[in-house]
Structures are given as structure tokens and as C-alpha cells.
């Protein structure tokens, strides 16, 4: 994700020439020095910092982007906020709503900007569906179906990376990609009241990763000597039935062992007047069914066009049909964050969203554990 944010930030001035504050890529830090050096060279960071503390302490840095395994975010965010730095934190912000709330309060107390890196709500097609919903075009929303299916964990030889270890990840696929379903659901339909859920783990032992492991790439296990393995303590797949304030319900499913699904995010929203749907595999179009002539009733395939919110700057070909791609949503998010910082206002996806997203995930896990419907409870004072 650090590479994705860097690419987006590097492209931002070209896409948004009127930006009030242009980003400058100053420093990058990583426990893996090779990675940090590669990132700095590739995106033109001015220097590689010793560690996170050095980034936070630097006088020429105004904003810190935190892209760590979820359990490591809190410490860095709290330090950055107390040093008066603006913070953008990749999702999931924390392993629990309680920890997310601590991060939110720290930023509020310090008076710094806080942005949540939940990319899909910035996809122009998803935003367009959000506008259709808020304008009442789909009527009263009755249901939402959303799935996020992947297969990066389907091979049992994929090593025990941080995503498979609760101490770093805070959970399995629900907190990883189920989080996106929750965030998109809240963005599109509204707040979630209660959750019924299940989780499942299919591969319980995995080989230990090589020393050069990065992200979902496990490196060479042989480097660690004789092949050893460790226990997976988080789920491979998860499903949830949720109820929204206002009476709609949602059906969510996510998995990292769905063979053939490299990254398949699909969203459908059905209302009293019409329906809309989106598929990440075709990110720059959405389908909408609205009332009309009964003879040609049906879903229309709508290409994202310059009239859609946030799309004009990203359609560098100047017209619909030229496609934006996944990177575009990150660019749109950063344009909004930098505009908000310049204007001294909150970002339109901030840590309070992170707290609410995490509260739903807490309920998802609790419901799966208890086997019964569980209310979403926000931390005290929110």
C-alpha cells in the first residue's frame, strides 16, 4: 500500500493542477531497509529515515502516512499526533474499535487532520451509486449484497505472513477485506445496527516465511533453514448478515481461499425504486436499473463519465470509455484529503469512520464466536 499511496501522491499534481497544497515526498521508513530504499528511489523520496520516530520528529514533515499491519498502527499514530503531524492511516486502523477510538481522540486532542485509507469509497463508480442513493433515485434501500473474494491464501504453501497472525493483523479476512464491505456499506446505505456471522479457517498450519517476505509474498522459506511451520490463528473466510438503521439488511461474504478470484469485489444495492451494482473487475462502469418503459426495462451499463463526482480529473482521456482503474480511487482520496487539510476541515473519511467500521468488525467477530445476533456497540463517548 505504501507504493500505491506514493504513486497516487506523485501523480496528484498532474491530475489536480489546482490543488491548494502540493505534496512533497520527503522521507520513508521501514524495518526492511531494502524495501525503504527501493521505495525512496522509485518515487523520489528525499531520504530514507532511520525509523518511524525519525519521520515523526522531522521538522520538514507535515503529514505521516501509516501503512503497517493493523496492530502496529496505534503506537505510530499516537506519536505522530502528539508531535502535531497530520495523519492518514491505511485501513484497518486498529484491531478493535476501542483502539481506533484512542487514535481518534489523540488526533482530536492534538487538533491534527486524520484521514482513513478506505479506497473503494473513492471509486467514481461507487461514488456515483452513492449519489443515486442519496438523491432517492433507487428509492428506500431494502438490501445490499457485497462480496470480496480472493485466493491469495488458497495455496497451503503460502507462508505464515503477518496477515495470518492475529498478533499483527488483529484478525483474518474479515478485518482485512470484510472491512471494505463494511466501509462501503456504511458509505452507501448507512450505519449498521446488528450482525449475525460466521468465520471459517481451512488451512491451519503454514510454513514460516523467508526473511525476505513482503506483504502477501512469502519470500524464500529455505532461507530460514530447515522447513518449519506455524499455526494460523485467524479465519480464511467469513460471512455476515447485517441490519442497517432504517430497515435495510445486508449480506456480506469474504474469503482468501476462493480459487480463481484474484480480487473480486462486487456490490449490489436494491431499493424500492431501482437497483445498482458494481464489480471491481470492471471498475469504471456500474449498472443501474431505474423505472422506465416496460418494453426495454433492464439494467443499463453506465460508463463512468466526466459528469460523475470525482471522475473528471481522473478521466485523463477526457471522456468516458477511457477507464480510470484502481489507482484513480487512491488519487481521488488524496485530492480530497489535501484539499481538506488546506481548508482546515475534516476529511470526508476520517478516524470516526474507522471507529465505526471497527465496531462493526468487533460485532462480526463476536457474533461468529457466540453464534447469535450481536449489536454494534460504539466505544463510550462516541
Amino acid at each position: 500500500m505504501a507504493g500505491a499511496h506514493s504513486t497516487a501522491l506523485a501523480n496528484l499534481p498532474h491530475l489536480y493542477p489546482g490543488l491548494a497544497r502540493r505534496p512533497r515526498l520527503v522521507a520513508v521508513a521501514d524495518v526492511n531497509a531494502t524495501l525503504a530504499n527501493a521505495l525512496a528511489t522509485r518515487f523520489g523520496y528525499e531520504r530514507v529515515a532511520e525509523d518511524a520516530e525519525a519521520v515523526i520528529a522531522a521538522a520538514d514533515i507535515d503529514l505521516v502516512v501509516v501503512c503497517l499491519p493493523p496492530a502496529l498502527n496505534r503506537e505510530v499514530v499516537l506519536a505522530a499526533a502528539s508531535a502535531g503531524k497530520h495523519v492518514v492511516c491505511e485501513k484497518p486502523m486498529a484491531e478493535s474499535a476501542e483502539n481506533a477510538a484512542i487514535m481518534l481522540r489523540a488526533c482530536q486532542t492534538a487538533g491534527v487532520f486524520h484521514g482513513l485509507g478506505a479506497g473503494y469509497r473513492w471509486s467514481p463508480a461507487v461514488r456515483a451509486i452513492g449519489h443515486l442513493i442519496r438523491d432517492g433515485e433507487l428509492g428506500t434501500i431494502r438490501s445490499m449484497r457485497a462480496s470480496f473474494m480472493l485466493d491469495y491464501g488458497a495455496d497451503p504453501n503460502v507462508p505464515l505472513l503477518w496477515r495470518f497472525r492475529r498478533s499483527l493483523s488483529g484478525g483474518g479476512i474479515a478485518i482485512d477485506t470484510g472491512y471494505h464491505l463494511v466501509d462501503c456499506a456504511r458509505f452507501l446505505v448507512g450505519e449498521i445496527e446488528a450482525v449475525q456471522a460466521l468465520t471459517a479457517t481451512f488451512i491451519t498450519e503454514r510454513p514460516l516465511p523467508g526473511a525476505d517476505a513482503v506483504g502477501n509474498r512469502g519470500g524464500d522459506p529455505a532461507q530460514t533453514g530447515p522447513l518449519r511451520s506455524g499455526s494460523v490463528d485467524v479465519e480464511d473466510a467469513a460471512a455476515a448478515l447485517v441490519t442497517f438503521e432504517g430497515g435495510a439488511y445486508g449480506v456480506f461474504e469474504t474469503s482468501r481461499v476462493a480459487i480463481g478470484k484474484r480480487i473480486s469485489l462486487q456490490i449490489e444495492v436494491h431499493g424500492s425504486r431501482g437497483s445498482a451494482e458494481w464489480d471491481l473487475e470492471r471498475p469504471d462502469e456500474f449498472r443501474v436499473c431505474l423505472p422506465g418503459d416496460p418494453f426495454t426495462f433492464g439494467f443499463r451499463r453506465v460508463l463512468v463519465n466526466p459528469g460523475h463526482p470525482g471522475a473528471n480529473e481522473l478521466l485523463i482521456g477526457g471522456t468516458d470509455g477511457t477507464s480510470i482503474g484502481w489507482l484513480g480511487q487512491e488519487c481521488a482520496m488524496w485530492a480530497e484529503f489535501l484539499t481538506a487539510i488546506a481548508a482546515g476541515r475534516p476529511g470526508s473519511a476520517d478516524f470516526s469512520d474507522g471507529v465505526r467500521d471497527s465496531a462493526v468488525l468487533d460485532a462480526w467477530y463476536a457474533a461468529a464466536e457466540r453464534g447469535s445476533r450481536t449489536a454494534v456497540v460504539l466505544p463510550a463517548g462516541l
Binding site: 433515485e137 443501474v288 431505474l290 418494453f295 426495454t296 433492464g298 443499463r300 451499463r301 453506465v302 463519465n305
Partner: protein
Amino acid sequence: MSDVLGVGIIGSGWITRAHALGIRTLPHLESLGRPVRITMLAGRDRERGQAMAQRLEVERFTTDWHELVEDPAVDLVANLTAVGGHREATEAAFALGKPVLCEKPLGVDRFESRAMADAAAAAASAGVQAACGFNYRFIPAMRLAREIVLSGRLGRILQFRALYLQDYAVVGSRRQNGSQAVTDYAHIVDFLRYLGCEADAVQATSAKLTDGGPDVEDAYVAAVDLRGGGLASLEASRVARGWKGRQVVEVNGTLGSLWWDMEDLNRLHVFYAADEVDGTGGFRDVLVTQPDHPTLGPWWPAGHTIGWEHGFIHEWHDFASAVIEGRPIPAHQASFEDGYQAAVICDAILTSAREGRRVAIDEMTGIAAAGSAS
């Protein structure tokens, strides 16, 4: 004439099964007033023909089509044999006052097709019907496409394009029978006219892309100037690896567009320029399965799809009911005149590809044709 409308089928190839299925499904629809039965089958190859007759539970079989045409239990002739066998048997049936449904392509070329269309016109004046077997016209999505085009909702048609891609000539063991890709895929030529366009001139190229076998083209591409100023393109191939039945037809008008793909034949994609407000313009994905869509009234509740064979059922429904009620075939059914018009365009494509020049449709008709007819 017996109460039963007896159908005699000439030809025992695979298309005979499709027509037989169509005929035998007629009772599922509204009553036509008379039961329609296949009373006799004719085929040149006795073994193959008898096996087909047995399979279709047709009691009587002959290797001599004359016998079938003349048989008193045959009221109507389905001429489903290879194109070389179309003219003689069809004209023999007309001479006995028997209606004929003849498979496409109608004749071996435009001259033979013209003669057959003239024979059909003479038969029509005696109240005898004739139809040419362009089955795809009866797919509900294409019936709807035609209604939309003719209603003017797409405005003036500027462009038409059609593809028909298959790979059967390079897959498996199906042998070439010497048929030509241009006339084999005459369906897309017919669709051009079915959807309201008329050809003015053709530029084409074609190629034999298989090894061995008869020296005929396996693929062609054609650019067509339309009367009134539009443009069309046609492309067909039987060596396009991976495609089994990619028949795509698209029309672009001043006010909208539509397209259809046989591989997803229940869907018609329709675009109306008037939808382009509030950012929700786009092709509508119309699932053509509603009871109020063409041909679907007697079928399933909305959303339950129909298949490829549906076209044959309605081809026979419309032809048999015209015969039973003693009226002309409906305008959406291909007449022998339509079969002739398709042959004219196919001949223009073949001539252009052979001679490497733009061929005017007028050159293929009228005076020039009369001089060179054999």
C-alpha cells in the same frame, strides 16, 4: 385435404432435427386450427435418412423427393436439403399448389434465387405460401430489435455491423461439404435488411484459411455502403478459434443504438441518447423474456430464458398458421424475395472479393443479370 396439415421434409441433415423440433412443439402454443404432423421424410442416403426418420418417429421414408412432393399426405414441403437441391423440388411443389419452406441460402446464386422468387410470386397469386429459412429473425430479442428500429426510436440508421464467428472448420472432425462461408453465413446479410438497411455497394475480401478440402473461402470481411448514406460491415469466419456461435449484430442510429450476441441470445442491449441525463446514460441490458415481448406470450413467466431452437418453433408457427388460415406470411418472416435479396448481396461480396473492386448492388440485378443468366 385431410384435417391434419401434413409436412414432408426433404433432407436428413442436422437442421432437419431443428425443424422437426419446431414442428412438434407447435401444440405447446395456441391451437393453429389444424394439427401439423411430419408425414414423410426424403433423403438421398437411405441409411442416414431412415435413421433420421426413425429418430423423429416419421413413419414414411423415401430416397426420391418426387415421391414425397407428390404424396397426398404431404400438404406442405420443408426443403431442408443442401442448396443444390432447392430449386427443382420447390418448383415441383408449387406446381402441385403446395406451400414450401425452403432453407437458406435460397438458391445457388442470385440467378437461381431470382427464378425461385419469381416462382414463389406466381404461387402466391394462387394463394400458395413460401418462406425462406432465416430462423434467427424469430429470436425474440431480434424481433424486438426490429420493432425498435422500425418504430424510429433509434432515429436514422447510420451504421450496421454484424459478425458471425465460429471455429468448427478447425475443431474436431466435421468435414467441409464445399459450402461457401459467404452464403453459409447469409444470416448476417439478412439481418442487415431485417433491421431496416438496404445495401448500395460492397467492397469485400475473403480467404481460404484451412488446408486441403474444396477451394472455397472460410472467412470474409465486407464493407457495405448503405442506401441513404449509412455504412455497414460484415464479417464471418469458421476458423475463428474459440468462438462457437458469436453472431453479433449492432445498429447505430442518430438517437440510439442496439446490439445482440447469439451467445447471450435472450438479451438485447439498447441505448437511447435521451437516457443520457443525470449521469445514468448507458446501454440497457434488456432481458427479452417478458410475456409482452415478441413471440413470448405463450411461453414462460418473465426471466425464464428461451434457447436457440425457439426460432424454429416460431418460424413454423408463423408459416403453418399462414398456410392454415390462407393468408400471406407475416412481414417479419423471410420471403423468397428476401432470400433473393440476400443472394444478391452475397454475390456482390463474392464478386468484389474475386475481382478486387467495389461492386454496386444495381450491377447484380436487372439488365446485367438477365444477360448472363444461364
